[in-house]
Symmetry: C2
Subunit: 354 residues, 2 copies
């Protein structure tokens, strides 16, 4: 049994702060800055192949000697459905037409689930990051055993007590309790199952009370007061994503940073129309369009994302930034643009001041 105390000790964390993996936004520079400042930096590798992921891990290692968390996506591999995908492209055609563009002729599963990616497993057991974390579900027992055998500490996201219990049963070392507030992809194991939409406050407390495992709170945590509140709820650490998006070291583009600093940050929307899985995005033209789309018509993740990225590329080329996957949590208005090393100092000061 991993206790709360030995989780932080084992990772040699001086602060109970985990930077959320945020595939597409996190960078080796961001993760290293957070880890060097005493937190746990993370790399979102879910959209990378094994080679690209290995390169990111090595780049990070060149910048820090501290623990790093490598995050992979464990969704059920996409099921191609040619009819649904063709209808989806039809539905998107008028949006492409706004930018004198046409949808791609067909859609692909643009990246592979960790459940089916042996090369990624081999890479992780070779490169041996201190932590590997799972999102969207859990890999099989063989993969979990292979990682644990290499001394890698395992985290997994849970949005409900049932998912958290599945994590515990699989031998996961600590649970990331991802509340409804959280930005980006919701970690629910089955995106078509009923979702109780548990907020960070309720979910953290429910999991802490029900489980022996350490719980890491995530969703809506933006500052030292939020971290302290998470610890009071019994979490061993807080995971912050949106708080880091505006940091200098991320790969968020100018339009994303601009939207985050704008009135749009006041409203985020949970939508599955951008990627195929529910994810929380800054309110923009894409989320407005998505409001009318029935869930049942959305192709599987990440096939839908292939279309969403093509639409965003067409819109961006025409000067319209409002179709980006501008993932953000409900705390978005509290984001503070600054270098990550500075933000870590601010967070630690705020936490100590409480």
């Amino acid at each position: 049994m991993t206790t709360a105390r030995n989780l932080l000790d084992r990772l040699n964390l001086r602060s109970p702060i985990i930077q959320a993996p945020m595939a597409g936004v996190s960078t080796p520079e961001l993760a290293a800055a957070v880890s060097n400042a005493g937190g746990l930096g993370s790399l979102g590798l879910g959209a990378s192949g094994a080679d690209g992921a290995r390169q990111m891990l090595r780049q990070t290692r060149a910048l820090t000697d501290h623990a790093i968390n490598a995050n992979v996506f464990c969704h059920r591999p996409a099921r191609a459905d040619v009819t649904r995908q063709a209808r989806w492209l039809d539905r998107l055609t008028p949006e492409f037409a706004r930018f004198d563009a046409t949808p791609p002729a067909k859609l692909a599963e643009t990246y592979t689930s960790f459940l089916a990616d042996d090369a990624m497993l081999d890479m992780l057991t070779e490169e041996r990051p201190a932590v590997v974390s799972f999102h969207f579900g859990l890999p099989d027992a063989t993969r979990i055993a292979a990682l644990k055998q290499r001394g890698i500490l395992l985290l997994a996201s849970a949005t409900s007590l049932a998912e958290a219990r599945a994590c515990a049963a699989a031998g996961i070392d600590a649970i990331v309790a991802q509340g409804w507030e959280a930005g980006g992809h919701r970690g629910c194991f089955d995106e078509n199952a009923p979702d109780a939409q548990l907020g960070t406050f309720a979910l953290t407390r429910l999991l802490v009370q029900a489980l022996e495992l350490p719980v890491i709170a995530a969703g809506g945590i933006m500052d030292g007061a939020g971290i302290r509140a998470a610890l009071d709820l019994g979490a061993v650490a807080a995971q912050l994503g949106t708080a880091f998006i505006a940091c200098d070291e991320t790969s968020a583009n100018a339009a994303y940073r601009h939207a985050l600093a704008s009135e749009a940050a006041q409203n985020t929307v949970m939508t599955r129309a951008i990627s195929g899985r529910p994810a929380r995005c800054l309110s923009n033209r894409f989320t407005a369009w998505s409001a009318e789309v029935p869930d049942a018509e959305v192709p599987d993740y990440p096939i839908t994302y292939d279309a969403g990225k093509a639409l965003n590329a067409a819109a961006t080329a025409a000067g319209e930034p409002g179709y980006g996957a501008q993932w953000a949590g409900q705390g978005a208005p509290l984001a503070r643009p600054m270098p990550a090393s500075r933000l870590m100092e601010v967070l630690k000061q705020e936490l100590a001041a409480g």
Copy 2:
């Protein structure tokens, strides 16, 4: 400007704990027990006429000398829509038929909004509870002035920054930040406007950062750790509803208590099909039925509630308890049945132990 400190001082609260008003569940005995224990007890008067409300206030006053909060509903008065109401009754007919019953021939606005209830205003200015709180919106400036002139402290629920700013502009003394986790009726001013579904964690922090007014956190708070977390987020007090439902002093019936203590508590559902406004209910047969109902077909609040209560009566008469308005928040699995005075002691001990 009411500061955080003088809000508690003015009410002579020894603990930063407010019992949520919960119309239909709260009683004079509950409110008095909470106030006598150093918190702020509340009466939910939204579904009562002025005479019934006066009686509840007087009964409470007979049980405590401490401050009491009288809560009223400030929804836009229902607009009758005979066609929509007839269709609604058609839709409900098969549910009534399960219990060999038929829907009522027509539906009524079973209680009056405070916006249109002069008798309630007169009663409140006469009886002069220490606190009056508003849900679903705000009354006009004349009503607010009349209450303030009598030295009554005013609270109002807000689910967004825009609503909280409206409260501040209207001269409200403190804001109840009602997060997505919260049970019962969601306090949104306009139930047809887009809802950002802000969780307690994010909403509390956003309002504390943006407003000068004291903020009271509500939603998913079930114990001393939760109260401490709310205070960490900058709230001046925590409002707990679901934590009190199972107390001996409430009017919750046996079926409601049983559901709260059962596996059903793991899943709550936000639905407008029971009453006409979004409200969070324990997952039961009524919420399962409501999942298929488009919002646009639901008659206005509280006209819809007239039908919902009739259906529950028919079901209950036939031995089926699953159509009750079993309001509860996402923290429901953490509810603890005991006398309210004992629960207050437990909460205070847990809060002090942090």
